[in-house]
């Protein structure tokens, strides 16, 4: 079964956001639905994100999806390891498969906690 850690907040579009350090990734549920990830397109360090807007794309063998910013802000770091090892997103979606880190420009809004996100994806 998919994991829903409690130390992150979730978007309805299946990104997670860790408030403590500004890290953004895709959820375990998302990586399972996508299947083997073969390419992740991410913004450059310094790029400005707008909350709720696409900031990149994630591509699996079967499909391509936009990535949506859980919070607005400036990109502080990018997980460059994904260029050579996009499969990290599948292996450790909440760890080594993180996508970017942001300096948030405000408080995140409209995010879900673990229980609400679980209910959303499990349809209960």
């Amino acid at each position: 079964m998919a994991e829903f850690p409690r130390d992150v907040a979730y978007t309805p579009e299946h990104e997670w956001y860790r408030v403590q350090d500004g890290t953004i990734g895709v959820t375990d549920h998302a990586q399972r639905s996508l299947g083997d990830v073969v390419y992740v397109e991410l913004p450059a360090v310094g790029a400005v994100l707008e909350a709720g807007r696409p900031f990149g794309t994630i591509e699996s063998v079967k499909s391509v999806s936009d990535l949506f910013a859980p919070v607005g802000g400036r990109v502080a770091a990018v997980n460059t390891a994904l260029a050579d090892e996009p499969e990290r997103v599948n292996r450790e979606p909440y760890g080594g498969g993180w996508l970017i880190r942001v300096d948030p420009s405000g408080e995140p809004a409209g995010l879900l906690d673990a229980d609400a996100y679980r209910r959303l994806v499990e349809g209960t």
Binding site: R32, S33, G35, D36, V38, Y39, E41, T57, E59, V61, K62, V64, E87, N90
Partner: protein, 378 residues
């Protein structure tokens, strides 16, 4: 609306399959290992696919030979019992109704078409109307939809022959191992299950397709999985089936072929053998071949890391429209994206460069020789 399920559905669930709708069916997209691992297993060891959703149309009667001649675009006249034929099935205007493998059970009397799941009903209706209109049906040729009585599994990969051999009676191993591509043995048994054993497939690898009764498919499936375990076999879903066939540049109906596309426009010219025969699409295909079809299917290697998918528009570097991508994916064996595109014939020669619109971005792509992958000899 939930899709139809094959007789292997519960086993697939237990193997960690994730399911996707396909042509009215609910079929495994991938199993626990994932598409990349499944793809690799077929190229290096073996994979097991449930393709029971495919249609099975029997053609029987004293005029069945005449019916084959009329319906098949490839030449069926030399078919003997135990031989199979890949053939496009075309309308009178040369548009493609479907593509199929026709198995000859008894020459001149009994054949079995394995057709695409989405087309079964339409194929049967088209065949019947052609046979009625020409009087062939009246002379004794009947189309019977055997799909519900036919389960089909595909065992594909270099280890397929050893895995299947382990399930055969000792006396059957040699003859089955010696089966040439596009030949089959009917009336045999594997793991005690009566089945038709054909040296056919849709992956670009060696392998077999086994047709049996749906109520026996579970036993056959379990035995193949068990025999394959030590040899690296994985159960494989539709995802890997698509990446495998695309690397081998095998057409998929609805993508490379449809009612508006002739086989001559889908790189299938070598399967168009209508001269000197009575084939319903013969005149139109001969005319098109003489005039030169307007479009041709070409192979593209988009510049990494872009993946051009079906529907992407193809242009010249100067921006002139050339055509459209019919299928595109990440090709695991090549480690990069590949695509098939239907372009204006002669406008995208091998070695030239085109530009593909990948979600609003212009991506350079090299036109290359097909297939993208061909298995080594020996």
């Amino acid at each position: 609306m939930p899709g139809r399920r094959t007789s292997l559905y519960e086993r697939q669930r237990a193997l960690g399959a994730s399911f996707a709708p396909f042509a009215g069916w609910e079929l495994p997209l991938q199993y626990a290992a994932g598409i990349l691992a499944e793809h690799r297993a077929v190229r290096c060891a073996a994979g097991l696919f449930d393709v029971s959703h495919m249609g099975a149309l029997a053609l029987r009667g004293p005029a069945a030979g005449e019916a084959m001649d009329w319906l098949c675009v490839n030449d069926p006249r030399g078919l003997d019992a135990g031989m199979a034929l890949y053939t496009p099935l075309c309308r009178r205007d040369a548009g493609t109704q479907d593509d199929a493998v026709a198995y000859c059970l008894e020459p001149g009397r009994s054949y079995l078409f394995i057709v695409n799941a989405a087309n079964v009903e339409a194929d049967a209706a088209w065949m019947r109307s052609e046979l009625d209109e020409t009087g062939i049906a009246a002379r004794g040729a009947e189309i019977v939809d055997e799909s519900a009585r036919t389960a089909l599994v595909a065992l594909q990969g270099p280890a397929a022959v050893d895995i299947l051999g382990a399930l055969l009676p000792a006396g059957e191993r040699e003859p089955v191992a010696a089966l040439r591509p596009f030949t089959f043995r009917a009336g045999g048994a594997a793991a005690g299950v009566s089945c038709l054993l054909a040296r056919t497939g849709y992956t670009g690898e060696d392998g077999f397709e086994l047709a049996c009764a749906p109520q026996d498919a579970g036993r056959l499936w379990d035995a193949l999985l068990a025999a394959g375990q030590e040899r690296g076999l994985l159960p494989c879903g539709l995802g890997a089936r698509d990446t495998l066939r695309l690397e081998a540049a095998l057409p998929l109906y609805g993508h490379e072929l449809d009612l508006e596309t002739s086989p001559l426009e889908a790189r299938l010219g070598r399967f168009v053998r209508v001269q000197g025969r009575h084939c319903c699409a013969g005149d139109a295909l001969v005319r098109q071949a003489a005039a030169g079809p307007e479009r041709a299917l070409v192979g593209l290697l988009p510049q990494p890391p872009a993946i051009a998918r079906a529907g992407a528009v193809v242009r010249t570097p100067a921006g002139e429209p050339l055509g459209v991508v019919t299928s595109g994916t990440y090709a695991p064996t090549l480690g990069r994206a590949v695509a098939l595109a239907r372009c204006r014939r002669g406008q995208a020669p091998i070695g030239s460069v085109v530009v593909v619109d990948v979600r609003g971005r212009a991506v350079r792509a090299d036109v290359v020789r097909l297939p993208f992958y061909a298995r080594g000899k020996g």
